[in-house]
Every structure is written in structure tokens, then in C-alpha cells.
Amino acid sequence: MTEYDIRLEGVTKRFDDVTAVEDVDLTVESGTFLTLLGPSGCGKTTLLRCIDGFETPTEGEVYIKDDLVTRTPPFERDTSMVFQSYALFPHMTVGENVAFGLQMKGIPGEESDDRGGMGGSLKRLIRRENSSVVDERVADMLELVELPDTQDRAIDELSGGQQQRIALARALVTEPTVLLLDEPLGALDLKLRKNMQVELKNLQEDLGITFVYVTHDQEEALTMSDEIAVMNDGEIEQLGTATEIYEEPATEFVAEFIGETNLIRGRYRETDDGAVVEREGREYVVPKTAEARGDVAFAVRPEKVRLGAEADGLDNRFEATIVDEIYKGNLGKFVVELDDGQELTVDMQIRDQGDYHQVGEAVPVGWSALNSVVLTE
């Protein structure tokens, strides 16, 4: 009937006097890679824990598929979590770790009769049953995360990246409806992290499972996600694709949190053929925006500003001086000062050797109005 996997309705979570999550509505369609992105303390992890069942919302309801699960304990939910610390069981082998979910939840697609009721429960408490089916699934899973034949290895023999894969395998083996990932790459170094980003994304596309991914790393979010929910102070500020979030930020918070940006404040005024923002006597051409009026800010990304001859003919073009520069190898980061004192950051990709500007140099800067965004909030 429905095509969503998760639906949150007015979810609010308070701890004592602190409101961690405030009135969040969110629907996640099946097979989506959704990222909850925000600074630490924005409530993204709390929201994830509400979905998994480790926290019970103070208000609001959580649905998975069509089932109301707000008060269902985690071990009865059809979700799996990959923890930031991996939380692998140190006293079990790799194989036992991966098998644990099968032994506790049962093998998906094979409902055995004696699982329900006191009998099965008690039996499970005495001994974790093993079977050839379990072994086979575990082997398949290890194959999937590219660590075949590691069943008998101890957890602490594995590197950080390998542990990460095992944590993934352990969470996926029960074939959950939704996989929840709480900054799973946070403990890895940069290079490994970039590789795992690509692998995770590919895995998600292959399996078609819904992923809900929590991170504070905007680059990670842009790289991997189908949809990004930018959170701040317990609320979702913007929900959209990577391009929407980056190119059309809805609020100042989003504009500044995702990537770098130049923010210029002024008075919005419509003109015959468009709109301008006026600041200290100077008019900046901006795209016409229905909701904008009065004092606003507009944003223009550093890589969208052109320097030198390339600025000619653009609808915003000003004389400027380079006041600071940082050489980054592949790009130069310049701070330029317009003749009225307004400072802008410009990122210029160094596309030819020696293509560079020195501090003190006078260069015109310019950008197209279409590359700026008026922020109404």
C-alpha cells in the first residue's frame, strides 16, 4: 500500500529540561539513502535512536512500514544499527558476531515454529543454536563485505576498516527493512573513509535497502546521499537532494553549514528586469525571489566568483584587491576586498601552472546573479 519505510509524526524528545528533537515530521521512501546532517548536539543521533527504539519519543509517533512502533523495544523492531564504535562483541569471533542476529531474531524467510513462546525463549537462553543455514548466511554476508573466510578470526585481530565491515555485515545479516548508521566512518582515517563512502553507497544501491545515515561531515553527506535532512537545534532546517541543499539553501544556517559561502546582507528591492540587494549604496543583482522583502541576506559560493578577465560581462562586476591568499595546490583561496570594503572569499581552481594572484594585486571580481541565492530567513 504505502511505499515509505519510516514515517515520523511530530516526534519530540526531551531530556529533563533539554529538548533534543522538536516536532520532527519525516517520511523516508523505500530504498532511499537518507542522511541526517548537522553539528554535534543538533539531535540527529537522538532522532536515529528514536527510530531504532533506544529512545522513546516524549511526543509523536514512529512508524516502520505501516506498523506503529513508538513503544516497541529495539529487539522487536525490524531495524539494524551500525554503531559509531562498531560495538562488536569482543568475546566472540567474527563469525559468531555476524551469526548473533540470526540466532536471536531467527533466520529471515524461515520462520521456525519453536521460536515464539516461553519454550523457544528459554531454549535460546541456554544455547545459541547453530545450523548450516546460519553458517551459510554468515559466509554470504562476509563475502558481501569483502572479508570472506574470516569467520574464526578474533575481533581484535582486525583493522579499523575491517571491523567497520564486520559491523555492517552483522547489521545486514537479518535483512532489516531499514539500516541505521550512526557516524559509522568517524573512526577511520581520511583515505579509508573516502573508499568506504563509495562502497557503502554502492552496497546500498545493490541491496535496495533504506539507509538512514547520521553524520556531521557535510562532504560525506553530499557524496553519498539521495536525500539530506539538515538538522539544527532539534529541528529539520531543510530536506532535499545534495544539489538542492548546496545550490539552493533554504536558510542561512544551511548555507553556512554546507560548504563555504559569502553572505552579504542588505535591502531587497525588485526592479524592472529582476531584483537587487542594496548595501551601502551599492546594488547587487540577485535572482527575483517571491518571498523576499526588506532586510535579507544573499549567498554566493566562493567557487562561483570569477577573478580577472573572466569577470567581464557578468551582471555583478566590481573592482577589488587581493588581501589574503592561501595556496592549496589544486586551488587558490583568495580573500578580496571590494572598493567599498566588503570582503569576499574566492576559490579559484588552478587549471594552469602559474595561474595565481598575489596579495595587493588589483583584480576585478564578478559573478552571475543566477549563481547567488537570496535567503529569506
Binding site: 531504532d52 529487539f75 562483541f89 569482543p90 548473533f100
Partner: protein, 233 residues
């Protein structure tokens, strides 16, 4: 340094008297050698072991429960309660012995093995609780969350995750309690009544003077302690 000497010494004393294995052989054959009555020694040893095993078993269970209670729950007066739990470790053992003796007197229990067990449990619990507590403090609660996430209920989580992970702590606590129980002289002395444990028997024996038999027993104790320690590692 001194200890190595004294250790060597106690062996040395045996040799010094001009004998080597004779005393051992004699003792093992059940003869009373130089005031050491092997039967009494064996009975003292078996009392010691009996008390230690029962006391350690009970201390481990209750001490672990106590450690969990202190780690997981907040309740009014928790600080005070924690203080009380750790008191047997701090109080001089003589005072502890007398306190227990008075307690048993008032309650009207006959002194004997069972009162000794109760006494040993009283301080054993504290040691187990301290060791397990420190282990629990470093326990990563997300392991329990991971287990629940994978479909294990509270009991299964405890059975398959929590308990196996803290097991080294529990074992260390139990071992400590065993060593304390086995070694204790002062507390036991007051509350065991007419029975003997090994330290008490030994003490009585030594008061009458040091004989080769004493040395043999001392050597045996040292050797068995060493073996136990090695096994524990």
C-alpha cells in the same frame, strides 16, 4: 629482596636441620611428626577450602549483583550505601571480627563453619563488588544496545553479552575473595568457634615453637599459593 631471602630461608631451615624429604614422606604417610598432626592439618585444610569455596560462591553472586546495582541505578543515599559496601575493606580486621562475633552472639547463632562462611561472605562481597564495579565502569553499554538491536531481549543480552564481557572482572574478584578467605586469620579466629582453618591451626602450631614440621607445612603453603597464582594468570 628480604622476602626472597625469607622465602629461601624457610626452605633452608628444613635443609639446615639435616633432613630433606623425610619429613614430607612422614607427613604424607599420616604420622605425627614433631608435633605436627597430619590429620588435624588435613581437617583444617579441608575446613579452609570448604569455607573458601562456599564463601567465594556466595560473595561472587552477591558482589556482582551489588556492583550492577551501584553501576546502573541511582537511588537516594547511594553515596552512603557505597561507603557501607566498601567498609569491610577499610575496617581493621580485628574490629570486623569482634563486630561479627557480637552480631552472632546477639542473633544467637552457634559459632562454627557456617558463621565463618557468613563472615567471609561479608568481606568477600566487598572485594568482588569493588573489582566488578571497576570492570563495569569501563564496560561499553553500546554492546548491550547492539545485542538488543540484533534481537536479544534483556535476559539474552545479559547471558550472551554482558556476562561474558565482564567475566574476567568477576573471576578476578572471585579469586581475590578466595585468597582473602583462605588467608584470613583474625576474623576467622573470632567467629569459627571450636573448628580450625589452616591459618588458625598453623598459628596454634607455631605458638608452640618452630619445628621442621612447621617448615614443611609453610613450604607446602607457599608452593600451593604459587601454583594457584600461576593458574590464575
Amino acid at each position: 629482596v628480604l622476602v626472597a631471602l625469607s622465602f629461601n630461608d624457610s626452605r633452608y631451615a628444613v635443609v639446615w636441620q639435616g633432613f630433606t624429604t623425610e619429613w614430607y614422606a612422614a607427613l604424607l604417610q599420616g604420622q605425627t611428626v614433631a608435633r605436627v598432626d597430619p590429620n588435624a592439618a588435613w581437617s583444617a585444610l579441608s575446613h579452609s577450602i570448604e569455607i573458601a569455596v562456599v564463601a567465594v560462591f556466595l560473595s561472587t553472586i552477591f558482589g556482582t549483583m551489588l556492583a550492577f546495582a551501584l553501576d546502573r541505578y541511582e537511588f537516594p543515599g547511594k553515596r552512603l550505601f557505597t561507603g557501607v559496601v566498601f567498609m569491610p575493606i577499610i575496617i581493621p580486621s580485628i574490629v570486623m571480627g569482634i563486630s561479627l562475633l557480637l552480631f552472632f552472639n546477639i542473633v544467637g547463632m552457634t559459632l562454627g563453619i557456617s558463621t565463618a562462611v557468613i563472615g567471609h561472605v561479608a568481606f568477600g562481597i566487598s572485594f568482588v563488588a569493588v573489582v566488578v564495579s571497576s570492570r563495569l565502569r569501563s564496560f561499553d553499554r553500546t554492546l548491550e544496545e547492539a545485542a538488543k538491536d540484533l534481537g536479544a531481549n534483556e535476559l539474552e543480552t545479559f547471558r550472551y553479552v554482558t556476562l561474558p564481557v565482564i567475566k574476567p572482572g568477576v573471576m578476578a574478584g572471585a579469586l581475590l575473595a578466595f585468597a582473602m578467605s583462605f588467608d584470613d586469620f583474625v576474623v576467622t579466629f573470632f567467629i569459627i568457634g571450636n573448628d580450625n582453618t589452616l591459618p588458625i591451626y598453623f598459628f596454634g602450631m607455631v605458638r608452640q615453637g618452630i619445628s621442621p614440621g612447621v617448615n614443611v607445612v609453610a613450604t607446602l603453603i607457599i608452593v600451593s599459593t604459587m601454583v594457584l597464582v600461576l593458574l590464575a594468570q
